[in-house]
Every structure is written in C-alpha cells, then in structure tokens.
C-alpha cells in the first residue's frame, strides 16, 4: 500500500505546487472565477430540479411515478457518463502518459502502477459528477422531507457507483489493450466516438421532446416516460443504487441498507477481480502500446490527383502551414471522435428545427418562425463557439514542443496566427452559414431574416474564431501532454465567457432594430428617422465589436507568443 501512496504522491505534490506558484494573485483570481461559475451552475441545477420536483408533486397520481422514474434515468445517465469518462481517463493514465516508462523502470510491480494510476483516473473521472449530483439529490431530499439516513445512503451509493464504473472501465481498457494491435490503443477512442454518436441519436429519436409543446399529448408523454424502458434488471448495479436511494427517500431503511450492501460488496468484489486481472494483463498491454504505431490508413492516391493542388491559390508559406495543419489534424486519431461528435451535434441541431411543432402553438406562426430564426443566429454562433473552443482554441498549443520550428522559421508570429485564423475561419464560416441557412429553410422564414442571419454570422464567425486564435495564443501550453485539453483551463473558460458575451451583445444590439424592421414589413409603412439612426448605430456597433474581437485579440496573441 505504501508503494501505491508513493506512486500517487507526485500527482498530489504537483497539484499542491501548482497552487503555490509564484503568481498567487492570478491563482486566487482563477480559483474565484472557477468557484463562482461552479457555484452558479450548482445553484442553477438545484433550482431547476427543485422546481421540476415541486411541479411533479402537484401532478396527481403521476407526480411520484415521474419523480422516481427521473431518479432511475439520472442514475443511468450518471453511470454512463462515469463509464465513458473513466474509459478515456484510464486509457490516458494507464497507457499514454509520458511518465509511464519512468514508472515501469522503477522497482515496483506493474500491479502497483496499475492500481495507483487507476485510483487517479477514478478520482479525475468522478469528482465532478459527484459534485453536481449533490444539488439534484439535495432537491429530492428537501421535497420528500428525507431524514439524515437518505443523505448518508446517497453519498455511499454515489461512491460505490463511481467505484463500479471505474473498475468496469479499467477492465474494458485492460482487455482492449490486450487484444488490439500494438500502438493502436487510440483506436478505441474512435470506436467510442462512433458509439457515442449512435447513443446520442438513439436517445434523441426515443425521447422526442417536441411532444412536450402540445398540452393535449401530455398524458401520453407521461405514459411514454413511464413506459420508457430504462434497464431495471435486478442484476444491474444501477438498479440497486436506484432502489437504495428510493428506499432511503421513503424512509425504508432496511431496504436501503440491503441495496447499498449489495452495491458495496459488488464494488469490492470487482476491485479484487480487476486487481488480479491487472496483475496478468497490464504490463503486456502497456508493453504493446509502447511499440511504434503503424499508420491506420495510408494516403489514398488517385492517378495524378493531389489534394494539395486545391490550395495552390494560397501564398507559399500559407499553403505550407495549411497542408501541415490539415495533415497533422486528420492523422491524429484522437481528433476523429470529436469530429463524429460535431457531426452528431449538427445533425441534432437541424433535426430539432425540422420537428418543431410551430403550427400547434397558440402564438401566430409568422412571429414564431421569425423569432426562432433570430434566436437561431445566437444558437448557431454558440454552436460555433463550442466547436471553436474544441478545435481553434487549442490550435496554437497543438504545435506542442515543435513550436521551436515556427519560432526559428522566417515567419512572424502574427503572420503565423493569421494563417491559423484563416485555416479555421473558412471551414467554420461555411459550416455556420450552412447551419443557419438550412435551419431557416426548415423554419420557412422571410427573405429579410434569411439575409440578416447570414450577414450577422458572416461577421460573428471571424470574431469568434479570432477570439479563439488570439486567446489560444495568449494561453498556449506547449508542454501539455494533451494540448486538446488546454480549453479546460483558465484561458478556455475566458474564451467561452468572452465569446458568449460577444454573441449576446451582438444579438441584443440587433434585437431592437430588427423588431422595428419586421413590424414595418408586416404592417407596411416605413421606419422613422430615429429608428433609422438607431438601426445604423446598432448594426455599426455590432460590426465594430466583431472587428475589434478579431484584430485586437490576434494582436495580443502575437505579442504574447513573442515572449513565450
């Protein structure tokens, strides 16, 4: 056990030293910012669940059934999330970390290395889910006037659930690493990405949230929810956890303790099996993962066709960067699942618009169509922000330790950033415009709204991409083991806040003038002089905001790269 603690210690010490870093002021600002955001999210979750449960209580007969059904759905969702995040973390901690060769050279057993890494991975994957399950179950406790046993049972149940998910993930990863060819461990991530997409689409098709708009169908929705077959086999740990929490909520202590004991013994049994399995399989799998990875796909060559020629219109340096960026991006298999997820996000986005029951709403369809179209600008821009956060923000950090090549090359850092900007700006602009045009077509909006949406996005896309590029350069981390994760740091958070604020500002600035223009079009007549001035000023200000977001942040990013 001492060895395991010794192996975990560097991680703990690194975290402590990170907090103790010289720039204490900055650290506190970060902690305050993260803390506030976390608290807002925590309180928000609590309020939403509290109100939903309060509403359920007011629905006769069905209220309690719905609340209990919701518990089993929440437990199932949390368990799936835990499983997925544990698999990703296990892969990284057990097979891909740079410090693993050093650990394996030490006089410690591979079982101890496995166990210490598994503990870290389980903690990393679980703490956030546990933290955000608290407001959910706290609201249940308050609504159902639960006693202290409920809270104790809930906490223990959550810990056991985390342990079970972590052990199962560990087993899946151990097994995967044994059967996959050496160096192909990341392929698991691709498979997981595809699986995730399929699950998402599957869930979407099943839940059909659009039905909730129609009050007439509410009874059938309740029945639908009730009949939704969340797995409730008595052999599943999620069933025991759900039953334990439900029983504790209804003051059935014996039943709660029985289920919690069942869960606990199962968790510890799994840990024992996992440990034994790791003793046999871990080192062989690790050894396999250390061999040189073979290319999954070799370049497809068709006669004299070369895709690089499509970029020949670019200046030579820009083309070199573009070719390098495209190649490294698509050859990195860890990027692929993200692309699948992005495709799923877009499919769901468009699907939502296609099934909106506008005709069944008491509000006039023309108002709704145009209101949705206007809100759609913000939504599309927000989707774009999320995509930029994942792909554009880490783009500079993705240069990694090879950034010296850029620094030593006869290319200024600003030029380098502008090239990066345009590399992402063009595809994201096409994507955003396609999103907004297709959703507007599905909404059958007026030509004015179509025009406005496309123009607004034409200005917002460079602003968001510029913010991501500039801030990505300011907060670049060239030493990160996983540069794609830099977005989870302070810079990424700042980008998301600034990006959403910018989108909100532009939408707010446009809202007033658009309302006047829309009403004028609907009722006939023309804009008054003051309305015209207001329109010009609002649109002008929105345009200036977008422009400064691009130029100022890239300027700051360029300056920041010079001193890195």
């Amino acid at each position: 056990m001492n060895t395991i603690f010794a192996l975990i210690r560097p991680r703990v010490l690194s975290a402590v030293n990170n907090l103790r870093q010289s720039n204490k002021k900055n650290n506190w600002a970060r902690i305050l910012m993260y803390g506030t955001l976390g608290l807002v999210f925590w309180i928000g979750t609590f309020i939403i669940f509290y109100r939903v449960l309060l509403y359920f209580q007011s629905v006769q007969d069905f209220g309690n059934i719905l609340a209990m059904k919701l518990i089993s759905m929440i437990i199932m969702t949390f368990f799936m999330l835990l499983l997925f995040s544990n698999i990703i973390n296990c892969l990284s901690h057990l097979y891909l970390s740079h410090d693993l060769p050093l650990l394996h050279s030490l006089p410690v057993s591979s079982r101890d290395i496995f166990f210490s890494r598994w503990i870290i991975s389980a903690f990393d994957s679980s703490w956030m889910i546990v933290a955000f399950s608290l407001p959910v179950f706290l609201s249940y406790g308050i609504i159902y006037k639960a006693d202290v046993i409920y809270y104790v049972v809930f906490l223990i149940a959550m810990i056991f659930m985390c342990l079970i998910a972590a052990v199962l993930s560990g087993m899946i990863v151990l097994f995967g690493a044994r059967i996959l060819p050496a160096g192909r461990i990341r392929t698991i991530l691709i498979l997981l990405g595809v699986m995730m997409v399929m699950i998402l689409i599957f869930i979407l098709r099943l839940t059909r949230p659009e039905q909730l708009v129609n009050p007439d169908s509410f009874a059938s929705v309740v029945l639908y929810l009730n009949s939704m077959q969340t797995p409730n086999s008595p052999f599943l740990p999620t069933t025991w956890i759900t039953e334990a929490i439900k029983a504790a909520l209804h003051h059935e202590t014996k039943n709660a303790l029985f289920n919690i004991a069942l869960t606990g013994t199962f968790a510890f049994m799994l840990i024992f099996i996992n440990n034994t399995f790791a003793q046999i399989a871990y080192f062989k799998g690790f050894s396999k993962s250390q061999t040189t990875p073979r290319r999954l796909f070799y370049p497809f060559k068709y006669k004299s066709f070369n895709w690089e020629n499509l970029l020949s219109f670019l200046p030579r340096e820009s083309k070199a960067f573009a070719v390098k960026e495209i190649r490294t991006f698509f050859r990195d298999s860890s990027q692929w699942p993200q692309l699948f997820l992005m495709a799923a996000l877009i499919a769901i986005y468009l699907y939502n618009f296609s099934v909106l029951p506008l005709d069944q709403s008491p509000v006039k369809t023309i108002y709704l169509q145009n209101l949705f179209s206007f809100l759609n600008i913000g939504l599309a821009a927000s989707v774009l922000s999320a995509i930029s956060a994942r792909f554009v923000f880490p783009a500079v950090s993705m240069e990694g330790e090879a950034f010296w090549i850029i620094q030593a090359a006869p290319v200024s850092t600003k030029k380098f950033l502008w090239i990066k900007f345009f590399l992402y700006y063009i595809p994201l602009l096409i994507l955003a415009e396609v999103l907004v045009i297709f959703s507007n077509l599905l909404l059958r909006v007026s030509s004015f709204m179509m025009f406005l949406s496309t123009i607004t996005l034409f200005c917002l896309v460079p602003a968001v991409v510029g913010l991501a590029t500039g801030l990505g350069a300011i907060y670049a981390d060239f030493k990160s083991e996983n540069p794609a994760q830099v977005v989870t740091g302070f810079g990424g958070l700042l980008f998301m806040i600034l990006s959403f604020s910018l989108i909100a500002l532009v939408i707010i600035l446009e809202a007033g003038p658009i309302y006047y223009i829309f009403m004028v079009q609907l009722r006939g007549g023309s804009l008054s002089f003051i309305q015209m001035i207001w329109t010009v000023c609002s649109f002008g200000l929105a345009f200036l905001l977008c422009l400064s977001a691009v130029f100022y942040t890239i300027h700051l990013g360029g300056k920041s790269l010079l001193i890195k």
Binding site: S22, T292, P293, R295, R316, E317, K319, A320, V323, K324, R327, T328, R331, D332, G400, E401, A402, W404, I405, Q407, A408, A409, P410, V411, S412, L562, I563
Partner: protein
C-alpha cells in the same frame, strides 16, 4: 556574421545570460562550452529568434534580430538540442514544409531533399511518419532540414546527442566542409572533444557570463596551462572564474 552586443536574458528568478558580447566571422566554427545551466541553450535560443532578449543586440548577417528577425532567420539553419518535430508528418513532408517556409526554389527542392536524406541515411524512411523515427533519426532529420536552404549561418545546440558514431563522424565532416564554403557555424556542446576537433574558436560561458574565448592555444594561455586538453582548460577556467 554573428554579433552579440551586451546580450542579457533575465527570466525573473534567474539571470541566464549576462551582458554577453561576441563576434563570429564568415567560415568560422565557434564552439560554445560551459557547465549545465551556464546559459548556452538560452544564448542559442536568443540567436535563433526563439527567445526575446531582456536587453542587448543580436545581429545576424547584418540584420538586427529585434527589428528584422524574419530576414535574419532566413540566413540561419537552426538545430535545437531536443528533436521535437511534427510527429504526424513524414520526413519528406516535414522537409517540404520547411522548404516552403524558407523559400527553397521548388525546382531544386526534390533533388536537394533526396540528396540530404540519402546523405543522412534517411532516404528509406522518407515516407514514414516521424513518430516512428528513433531519437537519432529525428536528430539527423533536423540537421538535414536545417541544411535544405543552404544557410549562411548554422546554429546548433548539442549536435551529436543521440547520434551513433558513424553519424557523428559524418556530421563533423559536413560541418568542416560547410565552414570551408564560408558558412558560419555556432555550436553549443558538452562534448569537449568535439569542440577541440572542430572549432576554430571556443567561448566558455559560466553562470550566464562569458569567462573566456579564443583558440585552444589562447585558452591554454588564459588558463596558464602548457600542454593540456580542453577538459583541463575548461575545469581550470570554471574553477578560477578567469575573465577575458
């Protein structure tokens, strides 16, 4: 070709380079030696335009790196101490990328790249991803790429790390030949025998300060040693902190 004037780099907690001044002429091989943490790599990174100095001037081929770094960098072939490259590119793709940035004429690129890859025994690996290369192969690829645009100045940090004896011999030969063609070479190294074999002049840096510089004979004189190896000269000067 290389002129450093009162060059200083202060990291805040460490003064890595302290008022360093030196000149290296065309065709000269200048060896930069010193103990660990002396400031060698920082100086090299400053010269390569990878770090910005706190104060002082760097003139490369007549260009002030603070004002016209892009033109200065075009004259440099830079080889860092650790071979970090774009792992997802093949060797040939990386060379093409570099050639595009340094403006190597397209019509001569293929021939030149092939020659260099063959010279550095990498031709058979040209179309393999760099992630499959060994440490030494990556180091050879970096050196080959640095020579692609016929630089007038070659700045190399620890050139022989990770190379096998045959490659060390080959690199030494190439550097001598480049110097004979008036290429200026600035080498930082721990391997004193390499500095002894290759360099026309040697600079000795310790705690960010240039303690001594000159030919091996001049350094022996400074260290007040008669017949001695560079190793003894190095240890004597470091111990006594003898200044120029």
């Amino acid at each position: 070709m290389i002129k450093l004037e009162e060059l200083t780099k202060d990291y805040g907690t460490t003064l890595a380079v302290n008022k360093l001044s030196l000149n290296v002429g065309a065709g000269e091989i200048y060896g930069f030696i010193g103990p660990n943490g002396a400031g060698k790599t920082t100086t090299i990174r400053l010269m390569g335009g990878i770090l910005a100095p706190t104060s002082g001037k760097i003139i490369i081929g007549g260009y002030d790196m603070a004002k016209n770094s892009v033109e200065g960098k075009k004259m440099i072939g830079f080889v860092p101490d650790r071979p970090f490259l774009y792992e997802k590119l093949t060797g040939m793709e990386f060379m093409r990328f570099s050639a595009d940035l340094y403006g190597v004429p397209r019509d001569i690129f293929e021939k030149k790249a092939r020659e260099l890859l063959q010279q550095f025994a990498l031709w058979d690996w040209a179309d393999e991803l760099i992630e499959a290369y060994s440490h030494g192969m990556k180091q050879r690829l970096i050196i080959a790429t640095a020579l692609l645009h016929d630089p007038r100045i070659l700045i190399i940090d620890e050139p022989m790390v990770g190379l096998d004896p045959a490659a060390v011999y080959m690199v030494k030969d190439i550097l001598k030949e480049l110097a004979s063609r008036q290429t200026t070479i600035f080498i930082s190294t721990h391997t004193l025998s390499i500095a002894e074999d290759l360099c026309h002049r040697i600079g000795l840096i310790h705690k960010g300060t240039l303690l001594a510089q000159g030919s091996l004979d001049e350094l022996k004189h400074i260290a007040k040693l008669g017949e001695a190896r560079l190793e003894e000269v190095f240890l004597t000067i470091i111990k006594e902190n003898t200044f120029i």
